[in-house]
Subunit: 199 residues, 2 copies
Amino acid sequence: MTSSRPSLYLAGPDVFEPDAAARFAAMKRICAKHGAVGLSPLDGPAPERPDRDAALAIFDRNVELIRQSNAVVANVTPFRGPSADVGTALEIGIALALRRPAFGYSRAPHLYPAKVQAGRSTSTKQADAQAFAADGFAIEDFGLFDNLMIVGAIERSGGALFFGEEAAHAVAPGAGLDLFETSVAAAVRHLRSDRQAQQ
Amino acid sequence: MTSSRPSLYLAGPDVFEPDAAARFAAMKRICAKHGAVGLSPLDGPAPERPDRDAALAIFDRNVELIRQSNAVVANVTPFRGPSADVGTALEIGIALALRRPAFGYSRAPHLYPAKVQAGRSTSTKQADAQAFAADGFAIEDFGLFDNLMIVGAIERSGGALFFGEEAAHAVAPGAGLDLFETSVAAAVRHLRSDRQAQQ
């Protein structure tokens, strides 16, 4: 990055918002305000046909943008279930392995068990105190907001997690830009202090 | 790998099965039958207390096992929503970036839009033919079974995807070992042909 502005890859289910272009334009303005460049999954050409080849072209471009970035800022608010969007989770894994710090933010501050129980009606607590959801699978409970791989990847990558104070259980179009800005500011601070340490 | 047996990291929500130890023992036997070694997320010591430090220790061990592996075999059957387990998705991202081929299997052969609609009551189709779910977000529709990042990572890593023929919409304890075996056989064939090509 030397004298140039740090680049942040913008990961999240925001790409599925009804007006995703406006969402990413707003996110890029927030990045610019903090002296960074936002790299958006929407930056490339729109697919001509929504087929497998178009999907792979988007995949390749996203991976390339993560490689070009100095850090990833990821919306890990629950999406269509108790956990973060899987595409976002996969991108955090790529970031970790490529040694990019990953910063995450979630509108929902709840711990994972509360989020599983919000979506399903019943869970049973067994003799060994391990809780199971209605689907028959154990409910991971390490006092974390999501699967430990998400929390571990963000922490071990050198990034950080930020939570909203709302009782929001899921993503909502247009929401969460405040938390996004907090995460961008933290990522920029981290990258600048990292750079100073290397000088 | 030279003359030793290939190692396969076993990714999936199988770790949350009520009898996860038996599940992974069965998966390791299947790996051995195909001349491979199964590396299980349960191989390490059980956590003493289910706290953040224990979670990070498990995270570190899983990442190390992926590094040690020659390929990843991942259960990408829908888990608590229309998509694969997020921990599994994140591990596929790590595998991709570390250049390990990732093989995936899903009991549910359905395309992603059908899985989103199975879980939610309504979706609206707008004028531009883009369908939206009840949550207000677009339903990705590239003719794929899950988020394009999952499919792209598996394909670009050199791996392959296998589907069940059942009308299964989600994971179920004990299910899917047949598909797992198909994936293991494919991973071993891939690694052996890769090795031959390098000789």
